[in-house]
Subunit: 137 residues, 2 copies
DNA sequence: ATCCTAAACAGGAATTATTCCTATCTAAAA
DNA sequence: TTTTAGATAGGAATAATTCCTGTTTAGGAT
């Protein structure tokens, strides 16, 4: 994604466009590994040594609030950030800390139909996601 | 569950039976709210003021290793402990930090069949669980 | 029943992800 | 160009969890 499109993404949500936000958002868009705040910091810090850890945290949180990123917790309790906004599941590798994306519309359809059919007493389902654990082959 | 059955549960896994383990395991068996280590500590500390926080953490971890408890992370990154060992899902209330159990054999069957049918390239599924978010009605 | 030892415990220090605080700076509207 | 609300840097504070060490104890052996 080029700078203009990154800028457009950021400003379209009413956020000021800053160098820090560009760098942090670009880092996420270029990564496939659902990085933690610290991973983002390590990735950008060589080219941008003046960007502080606090800014990374605050910026990631702002992106989540603006609807540009999703966040979730991994097994170790670390917050992970994900630029893919569509509904999808994650594959957790039991042998490493790898987390891959898994998207399957059939599965979503299946689950949607299931919970429409099987109402839960005293609970209104709003969002269902899967935690899939296993081994990379 | 009476003391003898609690003791049997603990010793059958090759663990020494101690007062601390009894109290901590009993607290979990009597709770429905998937408590954190701190919640367990608060629950037992009035009757057992000499049990330390470190012991609560270490004991819960030992139970998990022995296969007496399950653990998982909630949205806030807190470790939650669960005496229900069978496969089941959790309902996360969006308005509070409540987490309820949800068990449905049909759903498990459905998911099992789905992943048998839909192999994932380069990944071998070992365990699937659901994160269900919504509102308590 | 007593002794012995590996394991468990209490208490507190250390670690670490994350949040908070505040003085300074800057994007972008006027 | 000026103005100012919001963004940032840097570091202190917080909080869940782990680690460390000296003491105690469960339960098998004597």
């Amino acid at each position: 994604m080029n700078v203009d499109r990154l800028k457009e993404k950021i400003t379209s949500k009413g956020m000021k466009f800053t160098h820090q936000r560009l760098v942090i958002y670009r880092s996420l868009c270029n990564s496939q590994d659902h990085p933690t705040a610290e991973m983002v910091y390590n990735q950008i810090t060589e080219e941008n040594p003046s960007i502080s850890m606090g800014t990374v945290y605050k910026t990631l949180e702002s992106f989540v609030n603006a609807g540009i990123l999703q966040k979730f917790r991994d097994d170790q309790g670390l917050m992970r950030f994900d630029p893919v906004m569509e509904t999808h599941s994650h594959l957790y590798c039991n042998d490493s800390s790898d987390i891959r994306d898994y998207k399957n519309p059939d599965l979503e359809e299946l689950l949607h139909a299931f919970f429409k059919e099987n109402q839960i007493d005293g609970f209104e389902v709003e969002e269902v996601s899967l935690v899939i654990k296993g081994k990379t082959k």
